[in-house]
Amino acid sequence: MLETVMQLSLVLVTIAMIGFVYRLIKGPSIPDRIVALDAIGITLVAMIAILSMLLRTNAFLDVILLLGILSFIGTTAFSKFLEKGEIIENDRNR
């Protein structure tokens, strides 16, 4: 029962991811794509969680945590890039 539910959820999450990928490809603007990428990250978290349940392992819990952090950092970096044109301002270097 649980297995079936998991597989079903995985399919649903995958469909959601395909939708995000469509948005990522289609755009039309860069922020659209970035939001899509962020959402893909979160979907990945879900996907990996379901997968680790299916695979009956807790080895991927680190991956889930890391994905959460990275997806945040990545989105922030992209946003900062879009806003300021650069990610790390180097005026402290002078």
Partner: protein, 805 residues
């Protein structure tokens, strides 16, 4: 290491000392110190005469590279000794002459004598080595020292041209010779000449025999300036005259002669040898003398005359091979050619050496060597004139000088060919005496030109830079000694016959000379009214007539335009080779990385495809495949979509984001294929690299930010499809061909047992195979330092730190 070896190496040791003499004792001409050595060596080598007289030989060996069978075996027999005496004797005379020829103040004498001594040692090594590899080493050393000597006045363009030309040609020949030597050693399993000679019969049957012979002959012909490789010799006349006298008349150009003579016992039984050596020699004789007549530079005449005389000796050596086809020594008249070759070798060294020195004297005292400017010097330089007459008349083959004797013997050798009926000589043999005779006529003409155009005729003081006068005595000693030898050998030829000529000739045709036997060498001035004498009379008569009418027919030479000369062929082919290589390189090295990548990938496809095709390597084995799940298919769809987006994207930012998506999907693959560590790392690295891509994107120059789709190029598509297909095919084949099980079971069993860890990937990384990790850490460190260096270190072109901006 024996005294003999020390004698051979002594010029090299002396060459090391020369700069000290030059710097330390400036007041004395360096040549005086150098002069001692060749005199000592000459007397030392004279001591071998009683041994070689009886066809005995001295052999001293010392190991050089014993594991490869290379030793330095010094071997003194008649032939080697003859050359050693020529090298040291004429070497001493040339050094003496150069003391007066080269000024102590103006010239860099240390260079000159170092090069000259190097050459002398190398030449002694060539003629006294029994081991072919040692011989080759010394052979190349003569090429190099000759190159240095020709370009002695290196600030002149012509000197450098001549040096380069002679270097290219002689080294080309030397390398061919090395090939021949290696083939010989392959056939005979030894580098020793004498051991090869003892197997001569078997070598003749060997399939590689002809190749070895041609390669060795290439070496000999280039060194000895035979047709068509003679072209370097006239250009080598830019060297100082003592060098021309020593290297380019008496010694180095005879190295090829020596090689042919030395290897005759191995090759000479073959008909190819007879024809190649004989025909090339006789044609060189004819061609060289023909060309000598049109020269206007005295050294040019002498250069072509050297070419022609070397051809004479070479043809005699070739023709001398005929003797091997007749067994009995007693009435074997065909040995005459070999004896004539040896005799003329000695004669040529004497008269040509003296003639070069005469030309040097004339050059030194008048400032020119152009026969159109010279004339009427008889009154000023009587001694020089006398020497020139002796040398030139000997060269022309007039009695009572030694050239007459060897020329008669030369004609004898050539006429005897008419009676032979081997190697198609009935049909073609007549060419030999005819070419020989015509060549001799021209030899007569240019010999007369040297004497009479220089010393008689009208004195033209307005064309000369200085007022001519007789040379200093010191400068005349050497040519006088050589001229005296010309006369002495001419009047008493039998002084030489059993001391030098017989042993040398016996070394050239050893199979005919049994133990205790000797070749009969009898040279006499008068042997009745023979055909040879009539030929000589004809030469003199026609030659004199043609010399008198020279101004009428000299224009015939201009009929042949300069463009069809061999020199022009050399120049244009060198130029064409340079241009060709340049344009070839230009055509494929176009500077675009894109093109190079296409080459790399096309070769990748080509080579792998060819191998898979010819080896029939493609297999598809379905046994070992895992079932494909739904997630995998979905992920493949996603990753494919991402990749297509990268390719099709209009803006770079889209490409970067899509690349990030691909990277994350890969990490998802790692998850479903159960590789948590890889997934972790992949995620982090993907994020960092996407950030780095963004950084690069930001720093792109404003101008070239083309926000447009990548152009479509059919070639690129085909190449990339090919690479993809190739890799896929290879992966499928590799997977289908697994020969044995993985070794991973060991790790599974021992990760905790032996390494006290439960994470197998990490245990492998730091324990089982920690070395790889160490160096990957180094790679990261290098990359980090490199990036830091690239960003921080901003050097301008001059190497100073530019202002930080």
């Amino acid at each position: 290491m024996s005294l003999l070896h020390l004698a051979i190496f002594s010029p090299f040791l002396m060459a090391m000392l020369v700069p000290f003499f030059y710097k330390g004792l400036r007041s004395i001409h360096t040549g005086w110190f150098v002069l001692v050595l060749p005199i000592l060596l000459f007397t030392y080598f004279l001591g071998f005469l009683p041994i070689t007289r009886n066809n005995q030989a001295v052999e001293k060996s010392f190991d050089w590279i014993p594991s490869l069978g290379i030793s330095f075996t010094a071997y003194v027999d008649g032939l080697g000794l003859l050359f050693a005496l020529l090298i040291t004797g004429i070497g001493a005379l040339v050094v003496l002459y150069s003391i007066f020829y080269l000024s102590k103040e103006k010239e860099s004498l240390h260079n000159f004598y170092v090069y000259l001594l190097l050459f002398m040692g190398a030449m002694l090594g060539v003629v006294l080595s029994d081991n072919l590899i040692t011989l080759y080493m010394f052979w190349e050393l003569t090429s190099i020292s000759s190159f240095l000597l020709i370009a002695y006045w290196y600030d002149r363009e012509r000197s450098r041209y001549g040096a380069l030309k002679s270097m290219l040609l002689t080294v080309f020949g030397g390398l061919s010779m090395l090939g021949g030597i290696l083939l010989l050693s392959l056939m005979g399993d030894t580098f020793s000449v004498r051991e090869l000679i003892s197997q001569a019969g078997e070598l003749n049957e060997h399939p590689l025999f002809l190749f070895a012979m041609i390669l060795v002959l290439l070496g000999a012909f280039t060194k000895s300036a035979q047709f068509p490789f003679y072209i370097w010799l006239p250009d080598a006349m830019e060297a100082p005259t003592p060098v021309s006298a020593y290297l380019h008349s008496a010694t180095m150009v005879k190295a090829g002669i020596y090689l042919v003579a030395r290897l005759s016992p191995i090759f000479a039984f073959s008909g190819y040898w007879f024809w190649i050596v004989g025909a090339v020699g006789i044609f060189t004789l004819f061609w060289g003398s023909l060309n000598a007549v049109k020269q206007t530079d005295l050294k040019g005449i002498l250069a072509f005359s050297t070419v022609s005389q070397l051809g004479l000796i070479m043809s005699l050596l070739g023709v001398g091979a005929a003797a091997l086809h007749f067994d009995a020594l007693d009435d074997n008249i065909y040995t005459a050619a070999t004896i004539a070759a040896v005799f003329h070798l000695i004669n040529h060294a004497t008269f040509k050496g003296s003639l070069f020195m005469v030309v040097g004297v004339v050059d030194h005292e008048t400032g020119t060597r152009d026969i159109r400017k010279l004339g009427g010097l008889l009154g000023f330089m009587p001694v020089t004139f006398t020497i020139a007459v002796i040398g030139a008349f000997s060269m022309a083959g007039l009695p009572p000088f030694n050239g007459f004797l060897s020329k008669e013997m030369f004609f004898t050798g050539m006429i005897q060919l008419l009676e032979l009926n081997i190697f198609n000589l009935q049909t073609w043999g007549l060419l030999f005496p005819i070419l020989a005779w015509v060549g001799s006529v021209f030899t007569f003409i240019y010999s007369m030109m040297i004497v009479f155009k220089t010393f008689s005729g009208k004195y033209q003081p307005e064309k000369l830079d200085k007022k001519p006068h007789e040379a200093p005595v010191g400068m005349l000693i050497s040519p006088m000694i050589l001229a005296a030898l010309v006369v002495v050998f001419g009047l008493f030829p039998n002084l030489l016959s059993y001391s030098l000529i017989q042993p040398a000739a016996a070394a050239i045709i050893p199979s005919l000379v049994g133990p205790g036997e000797k070749l009969s060498v009898h040279i006499s001035h008068w042997h009745g009214f023979s055909t040879e004498l009539l030929m000589t009379i004809g030469v003199v008569a026609l030659g004199a007539l043609m010399y008198v009418t020279l101004s009428k027919w000299i224009k015939l030479y201009t009929v042949f335009p300069g463009k069809v000369s061999l020199n022009n062929l050399y120049d244009t082919s060198l130029y064409a080779a340079e241009r060709g290589a340049y344009s070839m390189t230009k055509s494929y090295m176009n500077g675009f990385i894109r093109t190079y990548l296409v080459y790399i990938f096309v070769f990748f496809i080509g080579i792998l495809g060819f191998t898979m095709w010819t080896e029939n390597a493609f297999t598809f084995n379905q046994n070992n495949l895992a079932p494909i799940g739904v997630y995998e298919i979905v992920l493949v769809v996603i990753i494919t979509a991402g990749i297509i987006t990268i390719l099709m994207a209009k803006s770079r930012l889209t490409s970067i984001i899509a690349l990030g998506a691909v990277g994350y999907t890969v990490s998802l693959f790692f998850v479903i294929f159960r590789a948590p560590d890889l997934a972790l790392t992949q995620l982090v690295i993907e994020t960092v690299s996407v950030a780095l891509f963004l950084l690069c994107f930001f720093h792109l120059p404003q101008l070239s930010r083309h926000e447009e789709r990548m152009g479509f190029k059919l070639g690129n598509v085909l190449v990339s499809l090919g690479v993809g297909a190739m890799v896929t095919l290879m992966a499928i084949s590799a997977h289908s061909n697994k020969m044995f099980d993985s070794i991973s079971s060991y790790y599974v069993a021992n990760t905790y047992e032996k390494a006290a860890g439960k994470n197998m990937v990490n245990v492998i990384l730091v324990d089982f195979r920690g070395f790889d990790t160490l160096f990957e850490i180094s790679v990261l460190a290098i990359a980090g330092l490199g990036i830091f260096g690239m960003i921080k270190l901003r050097l301008s072109k001059k190497g100073e730190e530019a202002d930080e901006n």
